[in-house]
Symmetry: C2
Subunit: 333 residues, 2 copies
DNA sequence: TTGTACGCGTTATCAT
DNA sequence: ATGATAACGCGTACAA
């Protein structure tokens, strides 16, 4: 491969001069600059990124930590991040994490070996040692869709509890009293959204009945489907269900139709996230929208600013969720 | 950061010895090896990946080229690749490409600067100069979901035409004669699937009527929706539609339900791909399954073997698609 | 304004 | 079996 030395030789200057030209330093005659640039173009020369990272001790790369089986919501989120990161001159390196300690350990090893400039988490980790390592090293970081109070990292997320409350409130306003909940066992947002559900019930003097809640091991459609089936099986009266993510809701709707129940005639369903596909389900899914694109941008901005200023810039960035009305909720009369 | 020199000093040996231990070379006394390993563990030392890449002139990284707005099918594909690549000790670096020449140029620049060990394309590029560059450099490469005869790169894909034919054949067997087609303007698989559609019609002596074909600018649900609407508007008799991807099919079903038409009672719909979500639509989407997981694995294997043996290993790897029966197709009587 | 020399962390080669 | 040294490609301090 052609290196900076080759260019220097061809242009009849020293490597340092070529370096100065390429990095837009001053102190180089316009004439020389042009000559160098011409040769660079002619040779199709591009700086070797590895060598550059080594000497600069930075990689212009931001890591994005995401579950191995990322869902559609996270997919949209990281597309947004990648877009804004690239705009600011950063490459994105994804770390797909499995739900195991071994996977988190492997991640820590990579973290140590890769000289990332910053890191964004779209995935909540169990192991606090990783957060601790990042904190000690002072690595610029942002959390997206969750927070970790103990570490004081900047966090980007919606008000989980309030957003869930909004969804349930919407059902109650439409006359629903017997409302089921499908949530997940893992991650703090599952618990927070469950709290929002309870708060909405309480605000209207409705009792919380544990039999109307089911906790599933994942947040995908299949889990939503089995969750709904379980709920149905318990034979508690139910006119509506709040699924804490859209994917769960999509699975719930499937279970309902398999059971010969119509949405929203026989059962109303509301989700939370507003992923792309939710506009295309039958019936269209009524849900609560997270501003995905903006949240991705904010996360990217937070780490980039931290890097630029050399110190942490923000703390929590709270976004507001809004109802998206489609056809999966019926008004009881 | 602690470096190999620090470990060497702490263990009372030279950096070379530490290097030998870490890379599992022979010629190092068991006793010394243990001492080094203990220090490494104690210090939490990990080799610096950047320095290593520089001297070894390889990065243990495979690039995966994918459209910026990758669809759910591609999402499953690259998850599979990432999984197998990691298993073989490679990191995955994604390149999200936009549909523009500028984006392809930027990609070429990165390609030159990054010392990748290999590359997989899940995205067909317009610009032959990129393929040419890869060919000249002898960079291990695999194409997934398409091929480029001119360059003779190994390619992993289903028999596009035959798979489409299978879908249409399925409709014809069930009594459908007036079958619409929703396909995309771009990429060779769109044309190939269209050819398969025509071949199935011809095989049964059915005429090809251009008014029953619509070509949309993307392969996502929204494009499928507008495509279906267009088809409906033309008022040609129609009992079934073949959408060349599942995402298009999902959009088509949405358009149908918006128009007050029931699937499959008033109109049958069949897709192609069998993405995860297709099992959860209402009605469940009848489609043709690409063995996504296996195709991802095969692509990963092809580049890894190429790297290991120092020369190209396979050529075309053809996979067979199979019908997945769900509820979106009705048998006419 | 430009060139020389050194160092970044690692591995391979060659001595010992 | 182990250590010294050079080299990978680049940026920068310092000399010129």
């Amino acid at each position: 491969m052609t290196s900076i030395k080759d260019i220097a030789r061809l242009a009849g200057v020293s490597p340092s001069t070529v370096s100065r030209v390429l990095n837009e330093r001053e102190y180089v005659r316009a004439e020389v600059r042009k000559r160098v640039l011409d040769i660079v173009k002619e040779q199709g020369y591009v700086q070797n990124h590895v060598a550059r990272s080594m000497v600069l001790r930075r990689s212009f790369t931001i890591g994005v930590v995401i579950p191995y089986l990322f869902n559609m919501f996270q997919r949209q989120l990281f597309a947004s991040m990648e877009f804004f990161l690239e705009q600011q001159g950063y490459k994105t390196q994804f770390f797909f994490l499995r739900w195991s300690d071994a996977s988190e350990q492997a991640f820590l090893r990579r973290l140590k070996s890769e000289t990332l400039d910053g890191i964004i988490f779209i995935h909540e980790l169990d192991n606090p040692s990783i957060y601790r390592y990042i904190q000690e090293r002072g690595l610029p970081v942002a959390l997206c869709t969750f927070e970790k109070q103990e570490f004081g990292f900047p966090a980007v997320h919606i008000e989980e509890e309030a957003s869930a409350e909004l969804a349930v409130e919407y059902l109650i306003q439409r006359g629903h009293r017997n409302i089921g909940l499908i949530t997940g066992e893992h991650f703090s947002f599952g618990r927070q959204r469950e709290d929002g559900y309870k708060r909405a019930l309480a605000a209207h003097g409705l009792p919380y009945t544990p039999e109307r809640t089911v906790r599933v091991p994942a947040y995908n459609p299949e889990a939503g489907r089995t969750g709904m089936l379980t709920l149905l099986q318990r034979k508690k009266p139910l006119t509506a269900v709040f699924a804490v993510t859209d994917e769960l809701a999509i699975g719930a709707i499937k279970a309902l139709s398999e059971s010969g129940l119509k949405v929203p005639e026989d059962m109303s369903v509301i989700g939370l996230d507003d992923i792309d596909i939710s506009a295309f389900t039958n019936p269209g899914l009524t849900t609560v929208r997270q501003p995905i694109f903006e949240m991705g941008k904010k996360s990217a901005d937070l780490v980039c600013e931290w890097i630029a200023h050399g110190r942490m810039q923000g703390r929590a960035e709270l976004f507001t969720a809004t109802i998206v009305e489609r056809e999966s909720v019926r008004t009881l009369t």
